[in-house]
């Protein structure tokens, strides 16, 4: 789905999408999981369209970069300033992740150049664009227990922090730290596997 919304402008000059996304995001920052999920979902659609435009020759990588960017947005959500446009904040993160991809890609291309005439052709026709090539679930499984268990209990199984703390035999704050550091570690592994 790459629907592009018409550039409606609100009275204050902000686009309708900016206003809507920002509303959900700020509620999400306050701990509203439903609004936060809406935000991530909407943002995902926008980012997918953006990345598809930016990567005409690497459509198979779009979903991977999209996932990496969504995780980056989540991990950096405390750095958003209320007085700045959400679009500028998200765009800077997406650009950063895209540049990271270009750097890694250029290196990989340089390594393979003498052996392959065109590495893309095969890859592009083989993978459905909407499927991620990299399995985040597998990367998650490979994390050490102190990171993996809090994420599995709290973020995947939806246990409360207190329940997860009981299951893991650690304190509640250790569970929160585990989730936080675990998602950062996951982002680092995504970088390493690209």
């Amino acid at each position: 789905m790459t629907t592009t919304s018409p550039p409606e402008q609100a009275a204050d000059g902000r686009s309708a999408a900016e206003t809507r996304l920002r509303h959900c995001f700020v509620l999400g920052l306050g701990g509203d999981a439903v609004q936060y999920r809406l935000f991530l979902h909407d943002l995902g659609s926008h980012l997918r369209a953006y990345l598809r435009r930016r990567l005409p020759r690497a459509q198979a990588d779009v979903e991977d970069i999209l996932q990496e960017t969504l995780l980056a947005v989540h991990n950096a959500r405390h750095t958003y300033r209320n007085d700045q446009p959400l679009t500028a904040w998200v765009h800077a993160i997406a650009r950063y992740k895209l540049m990271d991809f270009f750097r890694a890609h250029a290196r990989r291309e340089a390594l393979h150049e003498p052996f392959e005439d065109d590495g893309h052709l095969f890859v592009d026709s083989d993978v459905e664009p909407a499927d991620a090539r990299r399995d985040v679930g597998q990367l998650l499984e490979a994390l050490p227990d102190r990171h993996r268990l809090p994420i599995v209990f709290v973020k995947l199984q939806g246990l409360s922090v207190a329940e997860a703390a009981q299951r893991c035999g650690i304190s509640e704050s250790a569970v929160k730290v585990g989730v936080h550091r675990g998602l950062k570690a996951l982002a680092a592994r995504m970088r390493g596997s690209s």
Binding site: G28, L29, G30, G31, D32, A33, V34, Y36, R37, L40, H41, G44, E63, L66, Q67, L70, L71, A72, H74, N75, A76, R77, H78, T79, Y80, R81, N82, Q84, P85, A88, W89, V90, H91, A92, I93, R95, Y96, D131, A132, D135, V136, G137, L140, I151, V154, K155, L156, G158, L159, S160, V161, K176, L183, K184, A187, R191
Partner: protein, 213 residues
């Protein structure tokens, strides 16, 4: 894992975000760095013996203001660079202005003395050690600011490294001012700046490595 599953995972059981945590962390790093530099300076080098008298001279405050204003500008840049999508634009001027003011003061001082008195004024008595000591004193502040900014999301890692290095250097220089006997702008607008440049260059070099996220 499909993107929708990832989104569900990220949104599940999400904790409210403490919006003031980044500011607290950076303030803590700044205070720790300044305290550590001051303690190191006092223990290793010693306060200047005539400090009580020196604080009555305007140049003492001019010199402290020089280091302080470079530090304030570097802190401001660091704060902006550590958040995605916040523009810097022409705000580098904030750092350039005190540096330029220092050079103007240097030119004025040097123009007022005879040609053969200029070099001794420029070199003072401590030019050999001054930049190295400032660079050494900046180490704790550097480490503390790296820790603080690594918890943020800088999208221009090289520039962020430079800003963090300059901030650490300026913090160290503020502490060093309480030890240093040199009062002439002809001395400090060059050698202090060189001392601050060392951590700035180090920051520029390691930025892309330490600020990946």
């Amino acid at each position: 894992m499909k993107t929708d599953d990832l989104i569900a995972m990220l949104a599940n059981e999400t904790e409210p975000v403490d919006r003031r945590a980044p500011g607290r962390r950076i303030a803590l790093a700044l205070l720790l760095g300044l305290a550590a530099a001051t303690v190191l300076m006092a223990a290793g080098l010693g306060l200047r013996p005539d400090l009580g008298e020196a604080i009555h001279r305007p140049m003492f405050w001019g010199r402290l203001g020089y280091a302080g204003s470079i530090g304030a500008a570097a802190l401001w840049l660091t704060l902006r660079l550590s958040r995605p999508g916040v523009r810097i634009g022409a705000r580098w001027v904030g750092v350039a202005a005190p540096i330029l003011a220092g050079w103007i003061a240097m030119a004025v001082v040097l123009a007022q003395v005879s040609a053969d008195a200029r070099l001794p004024l420029l070199l003072g008595h401590t030019w050999r050690v001054c930049p190295v000591l400032i660079a050494l004193l900046s180490a704790p502040s550097f480490a503390a600011m790296l820790w603080a900014v690594r918890g943020m999301a800088p999208v221009r890692p090289r520039m962020t490294g430079a800003a963090v290095g300059l901030l650490a250097g300026a913090t160290a220089t503020v502490a060093y001012c309480l030890h240093c006997p040199e009062m002439s702008p002809a001395f400090w607008s060059f050698w202090y700046l060189l001392g601050m440049t060392i951590p700035t260059v180090v920051g520029t070099l390691i930025g892309p490595r330490v600020f990946r996220w």
